[in-house]
């Protein structure tokens, strides 16, 4: 990367389709395209099996009628709509829940080592927010599991099948920015090899953002260190909107201190939460579902217990997840990974002692708005306009199947169903001549701007310090409970942090595996996501799903039964209609959400 980068001193590599991100959704998309004969590449900043999908534990929720031969995808759909607090798009949820079984069986055929019932079928466990018969038939067991390592098993299976199909990977390449031509079409990305520093314009007729979440905007998160919202950062910088960014899921059970995830499957298998008095407090907050209420409900209940002085430990700052009553045999068979994690990060063996847990940032329900084919769009005056060449899938996207609160086990289903759908659509589209116009020299050079500026910095702010500042602002002002006056302070603080992010000092200018450069670019992506989150949170004046405001404690369907659409060019919020038109059935109307 010696000297100022421009169109003439970087390589151009041409593809039909480019997938940015090698996690579950990106690899499911690439698997579909690898079979198509199109020239495709996956650009991943880590070797694909290091992606965050690997950390998913409990399973993939889907009505495959194994635990219950009468199970129905419509019940799953009802649960998901209710879980979303009614701002999940019902056409997308219908598609996910009805296509789900096919996608899960495909994974099994690919070799995913699911756990099994005695009859040889896939093992399913109960998870939060699950019901039979549209909420009337009690708790369902709908989450297909490979012990408590389902994400690992799924991610490796997808990588293995990509190897089988000869998919093309650019591993340890970092995508910097989208290249956008004068027609507002996306023509590819600027990216560089982390190992060698080689910079290239990866030109493509279709660019898929499969970059996952951005939990690292918070100081405490279950997310991997790599979850920095790189795709969303790129699309926001390109001026495209992000949807429902105020909706962040705080998982009830992150290990206190370390933040590592403890699967909801623990409570599915019969574990429960207790406060300092040893009370199973969820019985008070959710008399029916108890510990298996929606994650937003459980997380808020835990915070209230702590705020009211019933937290555990010397600082009364966490509660306990009790598992010992399940017995060693069940724990070793069903939750071996949790036992391992708990011993390592909490110093506690769950066979004997409860695990200290606290709600921890876990999942980004919002993202780049797309239709069910992964096609990204912007929206103006109630009209959705497709962005030619730009697609998004998985946690990076907001299709929206999770609305204001995602149900456990639905993220893995989202990845494979919509990864596959995007792959099918892009294949068809490109084979029928779809594509985009060329980008000119200026378009390419403006996508190189950020990298050049960083490479040419001689002084400025420290990456690690600014990152810590950003994470503290988000943690303090945009956590489980939110209040207008605090959020205003947070938005102001982020303005200052933006100035710093624009003037970072890159100490290390070398080309070989320069992680200082990667971390600086990641921080700038975190900032874009944090700001979208902050402004969206401040402007949604109601409480819904994961967005809980002290100053607006009620859900307000009259004004806010809608998506929010954050416009990065104006730093403002628009409203967008939620889809209430599934294709095969009547829509589920909004109801009071009780568990």
């Amino acid at each position: 990367m010696v000297g100022h980068l421009n169109k003439d001193n970087i390589h151009t590599l041409e593809f039909d389709a480019l997938i940015v991100g090698g996690g579950g959704s990106g690899m499911r998309t690439s698997l579909e395209l690898a079979k198509s004969g199109l020239k495709t590449a996956v650009v991943s900043k880590v070797f694909p099996t290091r992606s965050h999908t690997v950390s998913a534990q409990g399973g993939i929720t889907c009505a495959i009628q194994s635990a219950d031969p009468h199970d129905d995808w419509r019940w799953h759909m009802f649960d998901t709509v209710k879980g979303s607090d009614y701002i999940g798009d019902q056409d997308a949820i219908e598609y996910m829940c009805s296509e789900g079984p096919k996608a899960v069986f495909e994974l099994e055929h690919m070799g995913l080592p699911f756990s099994r019932f005695e009859n040889g079928r896939i093992y399913q466990r109960p998870f939060g927010g699950q019901s039979k018969d549209f909420g009337n038939g009690g708790q369902a067991s709908r989450t297909c599991a490979a012990a408590d390592r389902t994400g690992h098993a799924l991610l490796h299976t997808l990588y293995q099948n990509n190897v089988k199909e000869g998919a093309n990977f650019l591993n340890e390449w970092f995508a910097v920015d989208l290249v956008k031509n004068k027609f507002n079409e996306i023509t590819g990305v600027i990216a560089f090899s982390i190992e060698s520093g080689e910079v290239a314009y990866l030109k493509s007729r279709a660019t898929v953002l499969a970059t996952g979440g951005a939990g690292r905007i918070y100081a405490s998160t279950t997310n991997a260190l790599i979850n920095t919202g790189d795709g969303l950062g790129m699309s926001l910088r390109a001026g495209f909107p992000a949807q429902d960014m105020e909706m962040w899921q705080f998982h009830p059970t992150g290990i206190h201190g370390a933040g590592s995830l403890v699967t909801e499957g623990c409570r599915g298998e019969g574990g429960y939460l207790i406060n300092a008095d040893g009370e199973r407090f969820m019985e008070r907050y959710a008399p029916n579902a108890k510990d298996l209420a929606g994650r937003d409900v459980v997380a808020r209940s835990m915070v209230l217990e702590i705020l009211e002085g019933r937290g555990c430990g010397p600082n009364k700052d966490h509660v306990l997840l009790k598992l010992d009553h399940l017995g060693e045999e069940i724990l070793n068979a069903k939750l071996p990974g949790i036992c391992e994690l708990s011993k390592t990060f909490a110093g506690v063996d769950p066979v004997y002692k409860p695990i200290p847990v606290v709600p921890t940032c876990h999942y980004m329900m919002g993202g780049t708005p797309t239709n069910i084919h992964g096609q990204a769009f912007s929206s103006e005056n109630e009209v959705d306009n497709e962005i030619p060449g730009l697609f998004s899938v998985g946690e990076a996207a907001c299709v929206s199947v999770h609305g204001a609160n995602r149900l456990g086990g639905n993220s893995l289903l989202d990845l494979v169903v919509f990864g596959r759908a995007a792959g099918l659509h892009i294949n068809e589209d490109l084979k029928s001549g779809g594509g985009v116009e060329e980008a000119n020299i200026d378009d390419i050079e403006s996508a190189l701007y950020r990298l050049n500026k960083l490479n040419e910095s001689n002084s400025g702010f420290e990456v690690a310090e600014v990152k810590r500042e950003l994470q503290e602002v988000m943690q303090n002002f945009f956590g489980v409970f939110r209040r207008g006056e605090y959020m205003e302070k947070g938005v102001k603080a982020l303005e200052e942090i933006r100035d710093k992010c624009d003037n970072l000092h890159l100490h290390d200018k070398s080309d070989s595996f320069n992680t200082n450069r990667v971390e600086a670019l990641e921080l700038q992506n975190l900032l874009e996501v944090a700001e979208a989150t902050a402004i969206s949170s401040l402007k949604r004046n109601e409480s819904r799903g994961a967005h809980a405001r002290d100053d607006f404690p009620e859900r307000d369907d009259e004004n806010w039964l809608c998506h929010s659409l954050y416009d990065p060019t104006k730093k403002d919020l628009r409203k967008r209609q939620v889809n209430f038109q599934p294709n095969t059935m009547e829509a589920f109307p909004p109801k009071v959400r009780a568990y």
Binding site: T49, H152, H507
Partner: protein, 248 residues
């Protein structure tokens, strides 16, 4: 205060690698080696290493920690520090890209060589293929591998022949598919491993077992493969022998 020595090498500026000494003030609580590295990186952003999940499931941060391969993110500093000293080096046996980052190309090539994907020649049913819990149990201890390369890079046989000896990590995966009742290519898989190098360069040194951060046992899987190869070969030999007998 502990003394941390880190292997440093940047191919653009260093003719030779060297060890750099840092004095590190431990916080009140015990921390993992990865947290220590992250702290040092705040004061010296040029230190390079891989990391992702920070909880022992992604396999990014395998390195040599006081002489033994392990994952930095799940290795407590207190457990590995000797005489207040900690030495961090890249995984041995693979080319160093920079500092603690090694070139894993050969390791991944061996993984791909064993065809790490399920092969089943019968048409897929409309639902899942059935598998009994006891058949599924045969995959435990195999499928959990995270490809961190701690085992293969601690194996002297892999050091000598990284291109021909498949190595413990990939052999564990080879056996994962041999053991899977849903896979129909067992014979073919065994055939591809029957040369003198692929499996037979394993001499049971057991370093792979002692370093595996997931507590897996590649040596046992290799033993299973070897005994299946022997049974197969004896079987073939018997067929040839009986054929020969018939003709004479």
């Amino acid at each position: 205060m502990i003394e941390v020595n880190i292997y440093r090498y940047n191919p653009e500026t260093d003719r030779f690698p060297y060890m750099q000494k840092f004095n590190f003030e431990m916080p009140d609580r015990d921390i993992m080696v990865l947290e220590l590295l992250n702290s040092l990186k705040e004061s010296d952003p040029t230190i390079s290493y891989r990391r992702s999940c920070r909880e022992g499931v992604c396999g990014s941060d395998g390195m040599s920690i006081n002489g033994k391969n392990g994952l930095a993110c799940i290795t407590p500093v207190s457990e590995v520090t000797k005489g207040n000293k900690l030495e961090l080096r890249p995984l041995p046996g693979l080319p160093v890209v920079r500092d603690l980052v090694v070139d894993m190309t050969e390791f991944y090539a061996q993984y791909e060589k064993i065809k790490p994907f399920l092969q089943n020649d019968t048409p897929s049913p409309n639902q899942e293929r059935l598998q009994s819990p006891s058949d599924r149990d045969k995959l435990d201890g195999l499928y959990e591998c995270i490809l961190c390369a701690c085992c293969s890079t601690s194996c002297p046989s892999f050091w000598w022949n990284p291109d021909k000896f498949v190595g413990p990590a990939a052999l564990l995966q080879a056996y994962r598919f041999i053991a899977d009742t849903r896979d129909t290519r067992t014979e073919e898989r065994l055939d591809s491993l029957s040369d003198p190098f692929s499996v037979y360069r394993c001499h049971g040194i057991m370093n792979c077992v002692s370093v595996c951060p997931k507590g897996l046992n590649p040596n046992k899987a290799i033993g299973e493969i070897k005994s299946m190869l022997l049974t197969n070969r004896r079987h073939e030999a018997e067929i040839i022998a009986s054929d020969g007998g018939g003709r004479s």
